[in-house]
Subunit: 139 residues, 2 copies
DNA sequence: TTAAATGCAAACGATTTGCAGGCGT
DNA sequence: ACGCCTGCAAATCGTTTGCATTTAA
């Protein structure tokens, strides 16, 4: 993962600055979703005067490099490390915001079939289920 | 549809102003997606000095009343008349932006199953397939 | 009559941009 | 040394809000 990133930087004549190193360290260790504030907070503990613009520029870079995925679930944008071998979709509780990840190969196959029927080449998809989790149903 | 809307207005002590009438006329005749600019353009042909704030307030009202659905596909927000009997998902060409609507009951059933497995009560879902349409593949 | 709605402009939050100086290669 | 990168502040974009005035019921 780190290697892919550094190769990406190199092949695009991008420099591995100390800001990017810190930012990438944070991202690489995220198992779940994170916001730009999470990233900013971490970064500012390590680098003085780190500007918000750097955060935005970095996130764009990672999304373009296909190492990060951007979600807009509820209000704020969430980012997540994109791992092709570990694709998943999301089930979200509308009351408490809890996010559950799932995969379903049957649905994925059906998606391919639908794309085919419309002569599309399928590149990506986004499936979000909104509901109420068990705890919130009881309340 | 118009009746549902007027009932909604009445039961919420909302007034059927000339602005809302014009705005609703536009919305009611949309078979596909439209943007707030589409709505604004139409409305300003009929009413002088119609402010953008009125557009936003009207759209909120309709979304709350459950007569409109809001999408955030690519860049700008799209609105669409919400018809429970005609639910559908979207297949989008990433090159030309073409949007195709589809329904697939098998997928819907699988979604219910997934929600059940996680003890969620399923309320809504959003499925978007991104791909390249036939025309754009040839280019 | 009176509560809600409108237009306007100012306020707002998130994101982007231009630029002068700094830093990695 | 060169060109990319950064921090900063100003600019921008979409959207929201406060307020004085108008309008539907």
């Amino acid at each position: 993962m780190k290697k892919i990133y550094e190769d990406f930087l190199h092949s695009n004549q991008l420099k591995n600055t100390k800001q990017r190193k810190v930012l990438f360290d944070f991202v690489m260790n995220q198992k779940n979703h994170f916001t730009k504030e999470n990233l900013l907070e971490y970064a500012q503990e390590h680098i003085n005067n780190l500007g918000i613009a750097t955060i935005y520029r970095f996130l764009h870079t990672l999304v373009k490099s296909n190492l990060l995925e951007e979600h807009e679930f509820g209000g704020e944008k969430l980012f997540e490390v994109k791992n092709p071998e570990n694709h998943h979709d999301h089930l979200i509780c509308e009351k408490c915001g809890k996010i559950i990840e799932f995969t379903n190969t049957k649905i994925e196959h059906l998606q391919e079939k639908i794309a085919l029927e419309h002569h599309f080449k399928l590149l990506d998809h986004k499936l979000i289920l909104y509901g109420t989790c068990q705890k919130c149903q009881k309340k």
